[in-house]
Amino acid sequence: MQNIEEYKGVFVFAQQVDNKVSGIAYELLGKAKDLAEPLNAQVTAVLIGSDVKGLCDKLAEYGADRVIVVDDPELKEYRTEPYAHALASVINEYKPEIMLVGATAIGRDLGPTVSARVATGLTADCTVLNIGDFPLQPIPGKEDEQKHNQLLMTRPAFGGNTIATIACPNNRPQMATVRPGVMQKIDPVKGAKAEIIEYNPGFTPNNKYVEIKEVVKKVSDIKDIMDAKILVSGGRGVGSPENFKILEELADAIGGQVSCSRAVVDSGWKPKEMQVGQTGKTVRPNVYFAIGISGAIQHVAGMEESDIIIAINKDEDAPIFDVAEYGVVGDLNKVVPELTKQILAAKEAKGA
């Protein structure tokens, strides 16, 4: 049986790919700092890879007090087994109270394997994390059984239709995978330094080591929609891949980027990396234009945290109007080009 009192500190799996830290690692560090405060705990980044020590300073700038580096040639390209061995060994050796992993393709593969290996619970795809009590309210007569300083993990389920808050009161670490694009990174503190610990549990290939025969990378020059301040997003209502031109012109005029709904990706009009929603990316820009998007619940789950949502749709009853601050019922083919024209005119007037 675990002595859960031994488990201290908030740990973050600092995902890197090709020796470049993934954005999710910084987001998790930002959240870890929030969680560490009421616990009066340290924030530790766990960096796993080959020849990755150079990345420690960046992690320090984004909030890591300490970095545990597992550096080994076996860890060059992500594979479940050596990575699971690395992270599980770190957990067993350093005993974190909380272990956060990004809900990326890598994290959603690594997290379950590691949680099963260290025999703890794992809550998938969290969108909110807090420190609080479990149960939330004390049970009358059993007040002393309520546990404090627990990680409360909130996640959507049923395709975003329900929401559950989950705790892991009797096992450590409390593990969660966290949706990319939801947590806020801190402004980097230039020159910040972290304590660096090098740790290598040893890697001996066994039956679980999968051999990588080939790695094929897709080359893309599309900027990440998760970084955009303004998104001009199109749905099936845009009508054709060619017609996305009017959205691109609006995006150029207003300084934004184009994104899209799942229907657009399924029709082959736009690549998957531009997709917003449950099976795409979660975005929270300052302004989200939903143009010709009906607003299926799976789409809304990926964009409802945007500061301002402006919907343009000819269907007055489209569910997108239920989440939009400003809804315009109208023909996007007329409204969007006119909007672009007026924005350009306004910019010119200001510049003059």
Partner: protein, 261 residues
Amino acid sequence: MKVIVCIKQVPDTKGGVKFNPDGTLDRGAMLAIMNPDDKAGLEAALRLKDQYGAEVTVLTMGLPKADAVLREALAMGADKAILVTDRVLGGADTWATSSTIAGALRNLEYDLIITGRQAIDGDTAQVGPQIAEHLNIPVISYAQEIKIDGDKVIVKRQYDDRYHMLEVKMPCLITALSELNDPRYMTPGGIFDAVAADITTWGRADLKDVDDANLGLAGSPTKIAKASDKVRKGAGEKVVPDTPEDAVKYIIGKLDEKHVI
């Protein structure tokens, strides 16, 4: 070659989501279906049957009524079906579910275990990898293509900006994406036979090498503190302008008000 496919009966959330007047989910009105990723996993297994003569067993854990998805799988072409059902297994989280299914799988011979990547009710994608961990076999998640080469399996695995061609010696566990294939339909003869087919039913006592402490609600490390149907943020303004110019005037006004332009 023996292939086991783990499947789950789920409420249909894609398109078929129904709401009560108060905005909560109307679960009773939703159809129970075979989870789509699992169905793709089953199709992949049936193709191995077509190609290599693999024997395909389907296994599910659930309420007694979950035998419906097993019969559907038999009607599609699976050879054997096992239902794991017991009151003490209810309320399981992914740890307890994977412990249960691993306990059932220990009774069986297999070269390959296929699960769906994730179920559309929980969306966790955790049970497949956790089963592999309990059985101490390798896992390859997000399979897009599956090929067999002697005692090895070759899988195309997709993530983010790249894919990997991976090779591993069997036994291993693969999680399938619904993008993997288009599942076949049940055949009329298959449906006829499936209705009458024997389904093996296992309870707690049939699980091998599993501690009671790892089963059901009590054996679940994660506990639900609160669950509710999602309350959507309320609708804002909706205008129906007479002309595109009026529409644009309205939008520009709002963008200006919010200092976007």
